[in-house]
């Protein structure tokens, strides 16, 4: 199949579209596998799946460079995968093995990857916003052309940390891109039940920050908006806020009986999910065949199998390392 001519700027070249699709499928299948392994007892703790929201991580990450920093939440598997952390250490982290990306100490909610400036994996709602402000401050003071992308859920908007961080980032014109993943439910509480004003992008105006809402189910729309916002931030325009309207198809976590929303609502959202809708559009553009899909699925399956094997053969961290990395030096607080 030939590359699509660039007649419509909204239609990406075939190779690029395939890559975006592949990345979203990769996240989806990784998480489906994680759910399966959770049920099998291989993975424990909290497991928050990103299924349904893949377009945001994949789209937004297209706007970021290796020197940029990323701060994510406890629903961060997709961000780490889209950032390029290999799947093996991520799977091993879910297992709690020492070959995990955080030596198994963090688990699902605490992926870290220093080599990719990936600063977590933070599980306190709104807790990453201030850290993003500080990372951006460091970049600004050291005159590095980096942007810090901070992902957070719409539930964090209710935290004081959101407002404090918006204010400080705007006041100091810091290079932060705040990316709100608005999936409409803070655990089980709908946004309309917790916010007096539900237009999150509009809240940015109160701090003089450009805010934009975008269809978070559309990977190209997220990519385009993220690129616009990132360019503005990189050019010294101070922080930007992007609200990506999305939906999670799974429960908040594996413990959630999901009593707060109807099955029909979930099913309705699934019909225009980020992967299915992008596949449909690619077919319309005649840049996706069944063979393409099979090839992607096969490659992802092989990658996941390898990641599971990597995790399975990983070692448990030795007990004598229990108190390692509490302090840099081996400070014994029991002396």
């Amino acid at each position: 199949m030939k590359e699509q001519p660039a007649t419509d700027s909204r239609i990406p070249p075939r190779s690029r579209a395939l890559d975006l699709l592949r990345q979203m499928i990769r996240i989806r299948r990784f998480e489906e596998k994680a759910a399966e392994l959770y049920s099998a007892g291989k993975i424990r703790g909290f497991l928050h799946l990103y299924i349904g929201e893949e377009a945001i991580a994949v789209g937004a990450m297209q706007a970021l460079r290796p020197e940029d920093a990323i701060v994510a939440t406890y629903r961060e598997h997709g961000h780490a995968l889209a950032r390029g952390t290999p799947m093996g250490p991520l799977m091993a982290e879910l297992y709690g093995k020492a070959n995990g990306c955080s030596r198994g100490r963090g688990g699902s909610m605490h992926f870290f990857d220093a080599s990719r400036r990936f600063y977590g994996g933070l599980a306190i709602v709104g807790g990453g916003l201030a850290i993003a402000v500080g990372l951006a401050l460091a970049d600004q003071l050291r005159k590095r052309p980096s942007v810090t992308a901070c992902f957070f859920g719409e539930g964090a908007v209710a935290e004081g940390a959101f407002h404090e961080s918006m204010n400080l980032a705007a006041l100091w014109k810091l290079p932060v891109l705040f990316i709100c993943e608005n999936n409409l439910y803070a655990m089980g509480t709908a946004l309309v039940r917790s916010e007096s004003m539900t237009d999150i992008a509009a809240k940015a105006a109160a701090y003089g920050i450009p805010g934009e809402a975008v269809d978070g189910m559309d990977v190209l729309a997220v990519e385009a908006a993220a690129k616009r916002a990132t360019e503005r931030v990189r050019a010294g325009g101070g922080p930007s806020l992007l609200e990506c309207k999305t939906y999670r198809f799974r429960a908040h976590s594996m413990y959630d009986p999901e009593l707060y929303r109807s099955k029909t609502e979930v099913e309705e959202w699934k019909t225009h999910g980020p992967i299915v809708s992008f596949e449909g559009r690619m077919r319309e553009w005649k840049c996706l065949t069944s063979e393409d899909l099979s090839a992607i699925e096969a490659a992802v399956r092989a990658e996941i199998d390898e990641a599971v094997a990597f995790a399975e053969r990983g070692e448990w961290e030795p007990l004598e390392e229990l108190t390692k990395d509490v302090y840099t030096a081996n400070v014994n607080s029991e002396t």
């Binding site: 870290f112 977590g120 201030a130 500080g134 050291r142 006041l171 029991e334």
Partner: protein, 322 residues
């Protein structure tokens, strides 16, 4: 030189010697620091390095964590310990955990300073001593400089640490005077120190109470009771060796802590003496702590609530007859 000037010297030396160091906090710039510790610094170092922050404790402490992750050496001033409660999320959930949780990939070389303690009639929301709470948390270092050399040297030492360090400066100490050697620099921040040597009693304390303990020891000496006065200096990691060595010599211990007695740091020390030195003891460990009351405003009530020289002397006398 005053304790305040020693803090200033430490800050100035840090800012001059390392371009990665910057100071941020409420009123540290234009106002000159709520305790005048950074007066004039805005002119000297400029607004990039002396940063006034909004009243957003959680976020500016968090921004300090982020800046440390980003390769800087932030010194964050939280005006008083009571305000630090607004920043506990960042302190406990991020500063203290990220190194461990990331498998050692990320360190947080952050220094946070704050004023603590009572004695200035500023009532309950500005007078508490909560450093013992912070000492509960693994992953952070907790320092309580009591002397002029420590006021400067602990700050410089803290900046050399790759992990978060919290410095609690007793507000009552800022105007106190003492000597500081011109060459004085970073000090050891791993060990307690015996400020006064004796054979009959171990008085164990830290921060602003060190001077009360020393005064009590002087008074006791006139009755022939010689007390070891241990200034803990570092609440975490705790130097138990110095405490146990003293107790093994004196066989008696009184702990002075301006925190409340219930769940206090004094309780921790008491338990550890019992765990590690029970058979050395000739009597029960005694504690002199603050009364179980929010610190009151009127002077007579505030004085009555706090450990003082008389109460320390009485506690010692209850264990030793001259």
């Amino acid at each position: 030189m005053t304790y305040r000037e020693a803090v200033r010297e430490g800050l100035r030396e840090a800012l001059r010697s390392d371009p990665r160091v910057f100071l941020m906090g409420e009123d540290v710039g234009k106002y000159g620091g709520p305790y005048a510790c950074s007066k004039g610094f805005l002119d000297e170092f400029g607004p990039d390095r002396i940063r006034d922050t909004p009243l957003s404790e959680n976020t500016f402490v968090g921004a300090g964590i982020g800046a440390a992750l980003g390769g800087l050496r932030p010194i964050v001033e939280v005006m008083t310990v009571n305000f630090s409660l607004l920043a506990l999320d960042q302190i406990v959930n991020n500063a203290a955990t990220i190194r461990h949780m990331s498998g050692g990939q990320f360190g947080i070389p952050l220094v946070v300073r704050m004023a603590t303690g009572a004695g200035r009639q500023v009532a309950a929301q500005h007078s508490h001593s909560l450093e013992g709470w912070f000492a509960h948390i693994p992953g952070i270092t907790v320092l309580t400089p009591a002397t002029i050399p420590d006021a400067k040297g602990m700050l410089l030492a803290a900046l050399q640490q790759p992990d978060p360090v919290f410095i609690f400066e007793h507000a009552y100490l800022y105007p106190t005077e003492g000597e500081l050697d011109e060459q004085a620099g970073a000090v050891d921040i791993r060990h307690a120190i015996v400020r006064r040597a004796g054979t009959d009693m171990s008085i164990i304390t830290f921060g602003g109470s060190v001077w009360k303990a020393l005064a009590a020891a002087d008074q006791l000496a006139t009755d022939g009771i010689e007390a070891d006065v241990i200034d803990l200096r570092v609440l975490r990691p705790l130097d138990m060796a110095t405490i146990l060595a003293s107790v093994s010599k004196t066989h008696r211990a009184v702990i002075v802590d301006e925190g409340w007695r219930t769940g206090s740091f004094a309780a921790e020390i008491s338990a550890r003496i019992v765990e590690g030195g029970f058979y050395e003891l000739d009597g029960p460990v005694q504690r002199v702590c603050s009364a179980e009351v929010p610190i009151p405003y009127p002077k007579h009530l505030e004085d009555a609530a706090l450990p003082n020289v008389d109460r320390i002397v009485q506690a010692v006398r209850s264990l030793v007859s001259p």
